[in-house]
Symmetry: C2
Subunit: 192 residues, 2 copies
């Protein structure tokens, strides 16, 4: 598979903004079961090798899992503060949670689990997120580096539409990328 044409400007933005850790914390919008939008910050992990899919991790008990199981679409909004540019990436999200059923997705989940820090892993053993606060259950526990907890989910966003806005132009520059039914991409320069 060839890389989509928006990969190179996005890679450039990630590189140019790399001194600011929060350049890897975009906002991830989903739709709630009642039809209202939801929006939260998420940590971008990486691209899946040789694909255009973006990887995130999440807790199985979080609201966004419930949303994605009913409506699998998300839109990521990524504002880079140093270069003053925005990427919006919309598409379907695959949920990797199957344990011992689909070998491929299970391997991927395990690979990501091995890669994250113990501190990040600990959070998946914490009490149910969003439920009334309890005081116990936050102490550090021993976790197997090779066996993800059941609460550990990998999300894969597969964008089919991308909008790139550069605020620094005079006037600003804006580009749209749309995936076609044959998998190729159509690029278009649009008014900001």
């Amino acid at each position: 598979m060839s890389l989509a044409p928006w990969r190179s400007p996005l890679a450039r933005a990630l590189h140019r903004n790399r001194s600011r850790p929060y350049s890897r914390y975009p906002q991830f919008a989903t739709v709630r079961p009642d039809g209202r939008p939801a929006n939260r910050t998420i940590v971008f992990r990486d691209f899946e090798a040789e694909t255009n899919r973006l990887m995130f991790i999440s807790d199985r008990r979080s609201d966004k899992l419930e949303h994605l199981k009913i409506n699998p679409y998300a839109e990521l909004c990524w504002y880079f503060t140093q270069t003053r540019e925005q990427f919006r990436l919309g598409g379907k999200v695959a949920i990797l949670e199957t344990v011992g059923k689909e070998a491929e997705s299970d391997q991927m989940r395990q690979k990501v689990w091995e890669k994250i820090s113990d501190k990040a892993r600990q959070q998946f053993a914490w009490p149910h997120p969003g439920k009334p606060r309890v005081s116990e259950g936050y102490e550090s526990v021993e976790l197997d580096e090779q066996t993800p907890l059941d609460t550990f989910i990998v999300l894969m966003l597969d964008p089919d539409i991308v909008d790139h806005l550069e605020l620094r132009g005079e006037p600003q520059n804006r580009y749209q990328y749309q995936r076609q039914s044959d998998g190729s991409w159509k690029s278009l320069e649009v008014n900001p």
Copy 2:
């Protein structure tokens, strides 16, 4: 009307992060007519005096206007990079666009128009946003400081649910605020 209990932590975050201009650029999610989420960065202008409504400006020709006319709900995600805390504010959005019909909303529109810079006003005279790029139409034009262009819209987000997450705690701290049917607010500390 009394200020909601989330106003004080939000004011504190705005104050503590004021040295970074992008602390006023949260992400605004809506739902598209086809049911997919949309997400983009928006500039927070101010609170409407003596209310809990947040003001934004927008172009009548932008996608979000089309979305809000069909589904009036939005969720704002506001990540403060210096203090490492997030506010999510969900609620209905009122669109102030009426010209010469509803005196009150029209006055508000005019007040906001007067307050923004000439550079910000000029953008409302630019070619149709999102349409294929044209080279003409970006030159500066003379605009009346007291008469908003027809393309100029004020959006008012009236949150009924707010989620505040402080990443700096050990473990993190998270609070939820829900508006009750009598207009009062219920606060709850929840698991992060």
